[in-house]
C-alpha cells in the first residue's frame, strides 16, 4: 500500500522502569514545568529538595510508579503510575511527560506498555481506567490511540487546585485487544 505523507511515523518505543533517587534532576524537568503541573493536582516544583522528598516518600514506596524512558536511553522523560481504587478489579492510571516530548507518541507508547504490564502483573484486574479533564483533548487522544474506550463525562469528579472539574472517563478492560 502506498504510504501517504501523513501516515504516522514508526511507533515510538519506550521502556518503563522503577524510579531511583538519582532521577530527581530528570524528574525536575517536568515537575518544575507549570504547563505540566497545570493539569495536575500539584504545583510546579521550584527546587529539588522537596522533589527528592517526594521521590523518597511517595514514589519509591508506591505500588506501581514507573519512569518512562525512550528506547536506548536511561534518563526518564516522564512518569506513569497506577493508583489502586477501592476494588481489586479496577485500577486507575495517570501519566506525566516532559513538554519537549509531547506530540510524538511517547505517552501513548507508555500507556500501551502500562496496560499490558498491569493486566499481566495484577491478579484479578478486570479494568484499567483513566480520567482526563474535558478541556485536555491531547491527553484524551493519548488514551484513544492506546486503545481505551471513552465511556462518559463524570461531572464535578475531580478537584484540581481548588476547582472542581468535569472529567472524561476512559477504560481498557481485559477483553479489549491490546494495541500494537
Amino acid at each position: 500500500m502506498e504510504q501517504s505523507s501523513q501516515e504516522t511515523p514508526r511507533a515510538v518505543e519506550v521502556t518503563l522502569r522503577p524510579f531511583e533517587l538519582s532521577d530527581v534532576d530528570a524528574m525536575m524537568v517536568w515537575a518544575s514545568d507549570p504547563q505540566v503541573a497545570a493539569v495536575c493536582s500539584w504545583d510546579a516544583y521550584e527546587s529539588t529538595e522537596p522533589l527528592l522528598a517526594f521521590i523518597r516518600d511517595a514514589v519509591l514506596p508506591h505500588p506501581w510508579y514507573r519512569a518512562i524512558c525512550l528506547a536506548g536511553e536511561d534518563r526518564p522523560v516522564g512518569a506513569v503510575l497506577m493508583m489502586p481504587t477501592g476494588d481489586l478489579c479496577r485500577a486507575e492510571i495517570g501519566y506525566h511527560l516532559a513538554r519537549a516530548h509531547w506530540g510524538k507518541g511517547v505517552a501513548t507508547a507508555a500507556v500501551k506498555r502500562t496496560v499490558a504490564a498491569l493486566f499481566d502483573e495484577m491478579e484479578g484486574l478486570e479494568r484499567v481506567e483513566a480520567l482526563v479533564d474535558v478541556a485536555n483533548p491531547a491527553s484524551q487522544r493519548v488514551l484513544e490511540k492506546a486503545g481505551f474506550t471513552r465511556e462518559a463525562v463524570l461531572r464535578k469528579y475531580c478537584a484540581i487546585k481548588g476547582v472542581v472539574k468535569d472529567m472524561v472517563m476512559f477504560s481498557f478492560i481485559n477483553t479489549d485487544p491490546l494495541v500494537e
Partner: protein
C-alpha cells in the same frame, strides 16, 4: 404480593404514602427489618454482599438512614459516603445506594427515598458538589429510580465492579450542585504536594 387498585389499566398511586428517613438504631426491630431484605436473594441480586443468614451484630457497620414505616419495613438507604473514591481527592463527592424489601417494590418507595436523601445530604453537607450512584446495566428498575429522582445518566462503566465473582458493567448517574441551582465556593484541597 399485595394487590394494587387499578384505574384505567394503570395502578393508582397509593394515597399518602408517607416516606421519612431516619437513622438505623440497634434495636431488635430494626435488625429484624434489616434481615427481612438483606436475606432476600431477590433484593441482594445486584449487591456484592451475599444474602445474610444471621442477624448482623450490632457492631456491624450498618448505615444511618432508613425509611420509616411502623414497624420499619422496607427501605433502607445507605448513607451517602463522604469523600471521593480514592481518598486523594477532597471530600466534595458522595455516593448513595439503597435497598427495598421485595414487598414494597413497584410503588415509588425507592424513588421517594432517594429523592429525599439527595435533598437531605445537599442541605446537610455544604461541601458537596456531586452525589453519584451506580446501577447494574441489567437492573433497569434501579436505573429508573435514579432517573425519576433527578439523577443524570452519565454513561456505562465497563467491568466496573465484581458482583459475586463476575465483572459487571454499571451505569453511572449523578446529581451535581448546579443541577439543583446551587453554586459553591472553590474546594479547599487537603492533600500535600
Amino acid at each position: 404480593m399485595e394487590v394494587q387498585a387499578v384505574q384505567g389499566g394503570v395502578p393508582a398511586a397509593e394515597p399518602e404514602l408517607a416516606i421519612t428517613l431516619r437513622e438505623f438504631t440497634l434495636s431488635d426491630a430494626d435488625a429484624e427489618a434489616f434481615m427481612s431484605w438483606a436475606s432476600d436473594p431477590r433484593v441482594v441480586r445486584f449487591q456484592r454482599r451475599p444474602p445474610l443468614h444471621r442477624r448482623p451484630r450490632p457492631a456491624a457497620p450498618l448505615v444511618p438512614r432508613h425509611l420509616r414505616r411502623r414497624p420499619p419495613r422496607g427501605l433502607h438507604l445507605r448513607q451517602a459516603r463522604r469523600a471521593g473514591p480514592r481518598g486523594r481527592r477532597p471530600p466534595f463527592m458522595a455516593s448513595v445506594g439503597y435497598r427495598v424489601a421485595r414487598e414494597h417494590w413497584g410503588r415509588g418507595v425507592a424513588t421517594r427515598a432517594v429523592t429525599a436523601a439527595a435533598d437531605a445530604v445537599f442541605a446537610a453537607w455544604p461541601w458537596l458538589r456531586r452525589l453519584e450512584a451506580v446501577a447494574d446495566v441489567e437492573n433497569p428498575a434501579s436505573q429508573r429510580v435514579l432517573e425519576k429522582a433527578g439523577f443524570v445518566r452519565e454513561g456505562v462503566l465497563r467491568q466496573y465492579i465484581m458482583l459475586k465473582g463476575r465483572p459487571r458493567d454499571m451505569v453511572m448517574f449523578s446529581i451535581v450542585d448546579t443541577d439543583r441551582g446551587e453554586h459553591k465556593q472553590p474546594v479547599v484541597e487537603t492533600h500535600g504536594p
